[in-house]
Symmetry: D2
């Protein structure tokens, strides 16, 4: 089954394993004439990589995207754009000791059941390392969205029980403040509490879940296609395809299940300009699967990282009881929701570009 | 954009509008040799239609699926199976009076922006009427799953603030009790409270949201494909494609965002039989996008029905202030989550059959 | 495998067996606002059906397409358009006697090997009856092409050893003359010889092959997508999907294999208007898989009908020697190339509409 | 439009331009557990590249495929396999002088019309250089086919007016003899005449067309899916997607249009073993779009290379009359049909693997 592609008209195909030679993405369907260079890619890759803090698992060298095809004289040609990101700073050998153990919450068991083999080095293709390709492709998608004045942002909404209070009025500032913060939370007060929480979690050899909120502005009304290619359905699929995500909601989401129609319905207000707006945006910018022109807002839930430093009971490949103890120095994010922020933003951009092109 | 198809190997294509001649679905990819007749379809259609209670919007005559193709001597032939469900008991004229008003929370605005036209009769294709086709196709999918001893169920988990306590241990009983209850909630105590809540909502001319939980058992480990065709990602897309759904979660879902890794990881226990199981199932039966062999469990949030009998402020097509008052006798579910139960179950079946066939 | 759909953005899904209740097609991706009624469909269906002559196998009653969905107030709504064509005048019982015999040149053997079952009544889904759905969909595609001033035509180029001499300069006249002729050959002299040939073939209880030529004019330069969605590649697939077709060529086709580059290259001539034209059109309107703006011209080879009235040696399902003698009164075209003419034209229209929409 | 992918379950996505950094292909859907290394790829790449003769355009250094992902401990993992082939020995500057001229028979005009830009260096993505990716992927497909005892071969059937007489009885010998011959024609007598013809063509600064025949043996009956995914339809699309191809036929192909049913029908003979065979194979191994179990045989017509050394009349980008004179030392095949042989074989393998997996 060919399952490493995403999108219909702006389609990405990704490849690579965490400790293989390189990660890569082929972008098919990018229009000709778009100015694009490796800096455009690398700026977004840098955001994903984060600073050299303890809050995201470090690779010592920065990821660099190399554009292999699809560019001529500084512009896209309409041909597929392949971007390669070499894997450096790899320490595979330490995984040898645990290669025969099932890892709780981890994909090695299911890969073994499905494929009979698992590239255990750093998690192989099941590693969040794969998301570097989404971000590289998202950088291209964002350049296209710029031409349509469509903006995307994502940020940490909560970590554990700490929830940020964030205004989404000014998306440009919001995005700036997000990426200036080491844990990608633009609410400075909450961010401090979150960092303390993570400090505790790291000290305990544990991990913690979190929620990422996304927002997309500048969308025209009319994007998305009933019945099965609804904008929100495609966003849901995009977000649930990110490693460790366990939930998706749009607008009020799960809260809407507790609301009455008279509360939830967004009342249209008499039009003054050429855009029809509503008093509220409980719907999150989508009605009947089609964009309303209001901001598209939603949230993605991430479970706590499966890899924790505490010893865990488990079994080996034969089902015999064992203790799993990750090797000292293993690199894992204690809260994957943080690094997921640019990934969620990238997936927003990919979904919207596809919807835009399908709408033409 | 061709967006009325769902699935890759077991692909359904649906058509029809609420007040058009008929609804229909073409099922492509059903294996040859499956015993199938119209009763198989109609039993599941009857569940969707509910009894003649006030809790689901009534059509006086039962829906009947007519199999037009793909069956020979009582069995499928491998050729496409077309099922037609005639629309009866239609009262379109009453919608005339409101055809030029934007309806808050409703898709008529977005359809108008996208297509320049909206078949306003009963909501046209944006109506939940479309889900009759999913249920008809789901009936066929469920017959295939039976051969693999895979079972599906769905039920009302909550309505407004009332949440049911439901054991998912015995899926056969669970399903039976669900469909015996007029609001599809197998927790009898909660069901009574929910009915009272809906009585109040109807009296107030309002509507209310709810959550549907689904469960799938008997799955082998190994279904679902990384990276973009994960089982949970495809379930998410399937569920968000149902009208009025606003959220999806798998396993602990949004709750996992508040959990620690040491709590959330499902600990594998020493194997006694041929299936590797874990102590808990926080993951909801999916790791790395691939089934673990444990039950797949998740939830779908439904917003309150957009159509309410209370007058609402709105605007007309030109943006001028108006009052929307639905005509007396309009048929709307006061809580769409109820009728969504067999639809959620049908979508589960469709996703799983596709994953099964892709895995062969 | 879902294999009853054709096209990406303008996608048709067909269903139905020769002697089942009905044939049908769902058209997904037709833009809103197109004036469309059943007459538009039926006019083209009538061409496929031919007059009541011996040259095409007769069904006594005319095919009538019933539009079930996707139209509101006389125009398309952007929703899927389902068209049903009831099967009438069916005489299935006569096939009983030969149901256990393999039929030389016929698909019953391969269907049996693949599916383990074959709906032998009139050929089931393997019958050319399926092409009625393509023509119905083609009628809609042609209405879209009209808006872009793109015209399509097809005609009988040869039957057996008789080849027509036909100028393709005036496509409107060409099409008119084609459909006025009972065997769809606009070269009146050749047509008479062809009819004589068919008379002889019928008398001998035999069948004969033929070639259909197609032409598409008014295309803008730039349709079709390298590398794997070339316009000519998609035309090739479209044509080889028609029952009994065995070959496809574009431009000079197989003749080009005998030519030199200095002969075959079409020399561009100095531009006078806004279209760049060439002296010749050996390429058949496509270079590098993309339309040049010159007419797209090609040919499709059809084998002689497999069903012949002569007795044939064969075997039964167990491989034992038998004689196949089709029942008297069996309805078969003696030359399928004739009835294939509107089908080839319909497939041209479907491919071009898809390429147009993909190019937007 | 995403058009650089081919196949459904075994899907290749290719990228790269003739004079860019590298060519590459991502293979998605290769099963886990297949032994695969770079030699497997390079052996087939070497065949494509040909010896250092004048009959195929030389690149001085051999193409080397580098496997970047999808292999672990010498075997495939089920993850996407990316193969990169670096471009070496590039001489782009000589194309500068002709970059503003339309090249007769060449894709630069249509690319310019479609994309507004053309990477003129060596033909960019429109170059036959792209086929190196198909051959690399075909090498993997052939390893899969080996496991199913399915064999493929292709050879030069004709060049200009010279046609080879070739028995296809022993496919192993046939393939061996083909690749031992410098122009890939296993009929030694014809090959000598063909070489003389090409000598003359080169001397005249011209080019010549040719026909490639392919054969696939060992197929089970039952591959291919009616109606639109017929095996022959997918082969047709595959072959027409090869640069310079202008026609496709299966079995008797265009010759069948001159035959009678009584001649063309392949008579089944009483079964002795477990395979049902027929006396003849006019059908070319496919009935109703599904394999019969007999060898699949067909032919692909290639036009003469568009790039010829003779001066040609043409126009520039503005439509003004010019003379095109390719720079001395330009590397072009005088007969692309020769180098197309392993490409045709590769496309056979890709189509068959896809059909195999879809049939499971």
């Amino acid at each position: 089954m060919a399952s490493n592609s995403f999108g219909e008209t702006f389609r990405i195909t990704t490849f690579g394993e965490s400790h293989g030679k390189a990660m890569g993405v082929v972008i098919d369907g990018c229009p000709a004439g778009l100015a694009l260079n490796e800096n455009d890619i690398n700026e977004f890759l840098n955001l994903r990589q984060g600073g050299k803090t303890k809050y995201v698992s470090p690779r010592k060298e920065q990821d660099k995207g190399e554009i292999v095809s699809g560019i001529f004289e500084g512009k896209t040609t309409g041909m597929p754009i392949a971007i390669i990101i070499k894997n450096k700073n790899i320490a595979s050998s330490k995984y040898e000791s645990i290669k025969n153990l099932l890892r709780p919450g981890h994909a090695n068991y299911t890969y073994l059941k499905k494929y009979g083999v698992f590239d255990y080095r750093g998690g192989g293709r099941a590693s969040a390392r794969e998301t570097v390709c989404r971000v590289a492709a998202g950088a291209v998608a964002k350049k296209i969205l710029e031409q349509h004045k469509i903006k995307t942002a994502a940020f940490v909404k909560s970590i554990g029980n700490i929830t940020a209070e964030i205004s989404t009025k000014n998306i440009v500032n919001l995005r700036k403040q997000t990426y200036q913060n080491v844990i990608f939370c633009p609410d400075q007060k909450a961010a401090i509490l979150m960092m303390q929480e993570i400090d505790n979690i790291i000290a305990a050899g544990d991990s913690i879940g979190g929620i990422v909120e996304f927002i997309i502005t500048g969308l025209p009304a009319g994007l998305g296609d009933p019945v099965y290619e609804r904008l929100d359905a495609n966003l849901a699929r995009a977000m649930l395809s990110i490693p460790a995500s366990k939930g998706f909601e749009i607008g009020e989401g799960f809260k809407s299940a507790q609301m009455k129609g008279s509360e939830h319905n967004d009342i249209f207000i008499p039009r003054t300009g050429d855009r029809q707006v509503a008093l509220t945006n409980h719907a999150g910018g989508v009605l009947g699967g089609i964009s309303t022109g209001m901001p598209v807002i939603g949230r993605v839930a991430f479970k706590p990282t499966a890899s924790i430093m505490q010893p865990q009971k488990t079994v080996d490949l034969k089902g015999k009881a064992k203790i799993l103890k990750l090797p000292a120095g293993s690199r894992h994010d204690s809260c994957v929701a943080i690094r997921a922020v640019p990934v969620v933003e990238a997936m927003c951009a990919l979904v919207i570009v596809d919807a835009l092109f399908l709408n033409q």
